[in-house]
Every structure is written in structure tokens, then in C-alpha cells.
């Protein structure tokens, strides 16, 4: 059994709260990636993060797509994105260092190098900088 010291406790609680907020704002991502957009933490963007192929296989490196739009539904273009993530309950981060491969369509960013080593709840924190705005999209994935 694994403990939860990966993120410092206040941060873990904040993260849990963020997840709940995210879940309340249109549903967090499921393993099949069919959930809707979620609002970023400060409300500057809406994001949806989904795997390029399903079902998600453990131990396989694969690509995901982050879709970003603004409050009017227009694609967020030319964004810079940084990815963090891990399993809060198991106190470890992602097993790989994913890369943003580029903006494949307006507002759609491909992320390569995602891998999951365990079943359970994974949380991504996607830092987004676009124009004068920066914000964070929190996305959770439950692998059953």
C-alpha cells in the first residue's frame, strides 16, 4: 500500500480541491478521454486533454492532445505549455518526461511521451501561457 507524501500536504489538499472544482466544472477526464472541457484555475481558458488512442494501455508510451479555447469558444493559439503530473495517492510523478510536439490544429496541441505505470488516479497539471495570460488546467484520469 502506498502513501501520499508526494505532494506536500497543503498542496495535496489544494490539488484535491482543484480536482473537485474541475470535476464540478464540466467533469474531469475519464480513462476514455470523452469528458468535456474544464475551466482553467483562473478561468482564462477551457481545456480538454485526451488520449489519441483508447483504451489506454499501461506501460505503453503514447500521445495525447490538449485542446484549448477561450471563454468565447475560440481556439487558443500559439500557447506554450508545460506538463507536470503524477499519482497523488502514490507519491510519485509521471514515469516519463512528456513533450509538447506542437500545435497540430488551431488550439490543439499534441503531447508525446505519456506513459502510465499503474492503475488508479493520475493528475496532470498543464501550465498554459498564451498572449498575456497564464493559467493552469488540472486534468485527472482514472485508470480502472
Amino acid at each position: 500500500m502506498l502513501n501520499s507524501q508526494f505532494w506536500p500536504r497543503p498542496l495535496a489538499w489544494s490539488l484535491a480541491a482543484l480536482i473537485l472544482v474541475a470535476a464540478g466544472c464540466g467533469g474531469a477526464g475519464g480513462a476514455d478521454g470523452q469528458a468535456g472541457f474544464v475551466s482553467s484555475e483562473q478561468g482564462h481558458f477551457e481545456g480538454r486533454f485526451s488520449p489519441d488512442s483508447t483504451p489506454i494501455e499501461l506501460q505503453q508510451i503514447h500521445s495525447w492532445t490538449l485542446e484549448l479555447r477561450d471563454g468565447d469558444g475560440a481556439p487558443v493559439r500559439d500557447a506554450r505549455i508545460a506538463i507536470q503530473g503524477g499519482m497523488p495517492a502514490h507519491q510519485h510523478g509521471l514515469p516519463t518526461v512528456p513533450e509538447v510536439a506542437g500545435e497540430v490544429e488551431p488550439g490543439r496541441y499534441r503531447v508525446d511521451g505519456i506513459k502510465f505505470s499503474m492503475k488508479g488516479l493520475w493528475v496532470f497539471r498543464l501550465q498554459v501561457w498564451a498572449g498575456a495570460l497564464s493559467d493552469e488546467v488540472v486534468w485527472q484520469v482514472e485508470l480502472p
Binding site: M1, L2, Q59, E99, G120
Partner: protein, 439 residues
Amino acid sequence: MKNGRRRWLHRFVALGAVALLGGVATVVISSFHPRHPHSWNPEEVALIKSLSLTGMAAPEPDPSNRVAEDLRAVELGRKLFFDERLSANGEISCATCHDPERGFTDGRTVGKGLAEGHRNTPTLVGAGFSRWLFWDGRRDTLWAQALDPLEDPDEQGTTRTRIAQLMASSYRSHYEPLFGELPDLSDTGRFPPDAGPRGDAEAISAWESMAPTDRDAVTEVAVNAAKAIAAFEAQIVPGTTRLDQYADALGSSAEGVGPPGILTELEAEGLRIFIGQGACTDCHSGPLLTNGDFHSIGLPPIPGERFDVGRIDGAPEVAAAEFGCSSEHGDVEPSRCEDIRFLKTSGFELVGAFKVPSLRNVARTAPYMHRGQLATLDDVVAHYDDPPEAIIGHTDLLPLELSGREAAALAAFLGVLDAQPQGLEIAAHSAASTDRVTR
């Protein structure tokens, strides 16, 4: 009207109390009447079946090894695996530490070749499935791993030119159809008998005095020898265990009731802990009973020894290694070596983290952990049951709080994971035959 309301209120409260008592009674009764050891709910059935070898594909051929599937390479690799001439003293082969009779391990706390090493010898069973090699994952292909002990001064301690010369003198007829013509090594001025980058000072000096093109030619021969060894090693795969039989039969039985006569009640209880309270399948998942990743379980430092930091050193080393998937010796476009491309080299959770070993054949690979710290499976269960605080780094473990019977059940279940490895007959044949070459 007031009385009517009160009556309803009383009835409501009474109903609530009855419901509450009923719930409590259910919990109490169920806690005193545990489920039948062989009864599983659908989620448990799915989890148990996910551990079965049945339906698991063979190891995908290593794309960085162009002879990985060539049976001629398997045959050459088999001979090399048992060839004690591939050592400085002519007495140590790969099989010295990876003994087929001991589950391809050596039964020692740490490996011993020319000198005593620092880590426990891992099994080779299922090595062809491994994404990372060595306890710290400092190599990413089986062939790169196989070459390392040959040159390691504490293990076989031979030199690169000596490997190439042995291929020329004893294995030419096996080598050349696979890899093409061997270089002419007869000029001992150009090709000193003992020259290599990891030998003693004399061997290193001899190596550095060689022409770069000659060094490259020798290195290519040594790499090809290692690719043949890897082709053989990838043939050694786990055999069908009682867990596999149980999991496979579970699918055809009614309502998730386990088949009789395969697992004892104690072993079935252990299985329940393995997939449930013990959370063992968090890491020991899938048919190989490993997620192939790196985790710290807070093993304490050994007094008088430098703390082994594991993956935090292994990750940068694999990225910089002379041999590996994305190196010039890998038979694949480096961009296809995704494990290296997206390699994680930092993060506090890598400190003291080691590769999660497969649990197949675990009963025959004692002692356990990267340093052989734990002598028996009972010791292993005790560590997970009451894990110490990590002295350095962190531990992924939380106490399991097992009863004595539960701990015994979990240890008993680990014994279920035993089977004669497939591919062993190849090895046994070799050990018994005249192919076992000595100087």
C-alpha cells in the same frame, strides 16, 4: 395535527434506527463471516485474470537487435552464455551467476564473479520483456546489458579484443553467416590480445593506442556477440504456474468461484491480500507481475556501505551509455527509442528506487531485494507489512497491518508463482552437452 406530526416523526426515527441497526448488523455479521476463500467478485475475477500468462504475447523482438529473432543467433548466444572463456580467469560464464538450476540466479546476497559485486543477481526469466535492465535500469536493451558483465572487472573481466578473438577462433562459422566477415585480427600490433576500455591500466592503455577504426571494428564484434547472447536470453520465458491455471479456470466457473484443487485455502487468502489489502498489484501487475518501473520501498542503508541510490544514478547513465537502443550500435532509428527520448532523469522519487522485479519464480530466487537484504519471502512480507521510515529518499509503502495468518497466507501465495521456466530445456541441454566449453 401536532400529534399526527409527532407520530410520523416517531415512525421516521424508528425506521431510521431499524435501518441503522440493520446496516450495523450486516457489517458485524459479514466481518465474522468472511467470504469463502475461493469466491471472487467480478472486479477481482478481472484482476486475477489480468495476471495470467495465457494470452500474453511473446516478447516483442528488440528493434535495436537485428538478430533478436534469428534462431542462428539464439544458438550462438546459447553457446556464448555458457562459455567460461569469456572471462579473465577462464572460469566464469554468464551462467555462473545466472544459474539455470537456481532460476537463473546464484542464490547469493550479491553476485560474485572475479570479485564480489554490489547488487543481488536478478533472474533472466522474462528478461526479454524488460524495458530496463539492471536493478537501476542503467541499460535499455538486453544486448547492452549482456556486454556489460563481460567487461566489468568485478564480473567476467575480459577485454574487448579478447572477445573478438574468441569469436574469430571458435565461433567464426556461427558468427559470419549472421553478421558478415570478421575483421582480420591476426596483427597483434594493431590488435593487442588484451585491450579494452574497462580493463586494467595496461588493457586501457593498449586500447587507447589502437587506431580508432580498429577499435570500432573490435567493438562491433563484441556488440554482435552480445546481441547473440541477448537473442538466447530472450528465449527464457516464465512457465505456467498454478496462478495461471487458477485464473484461466476462473473464467469458466460460475459466479466467480475459484476452481477446486489448484490453490489451497491459505494460498487463495494470500491471493486476496495480494490483489486487495496488500495493494501488491499496484506495482506487481500484469502477467509478469511487474509494472517494469522504479519504486523505493525504503530499504535501510547497510552499515558501512555507501547508500545505493538506484534509479537516480541509473537514469542519467542509461542516457549516456556507450551501448543502447539509441546508440550508434543500435539497429534502429534513435527516434524510435522512446524510453530514452522521454526518459525521466530527476525527481526525488527516483532516489533509492529500484526496478520492480517480476514475482514469477520468486520462491527460487532468494535472497531478495537489490542487495539481497531479505533472506526469505517471510522477511519480504514482514518488510511490506511494517515498512521502516526511509532514511534516505522516501518510501512508497504504508503499513499493511496483516494478522499472522494473513502474512503467512501472502507468503504462501508467493510460492504459487513457481514454474519451470520455458527455455530451460535449451539451457539444460547446453550445460550437459559438449557445448560447455572450457579453456
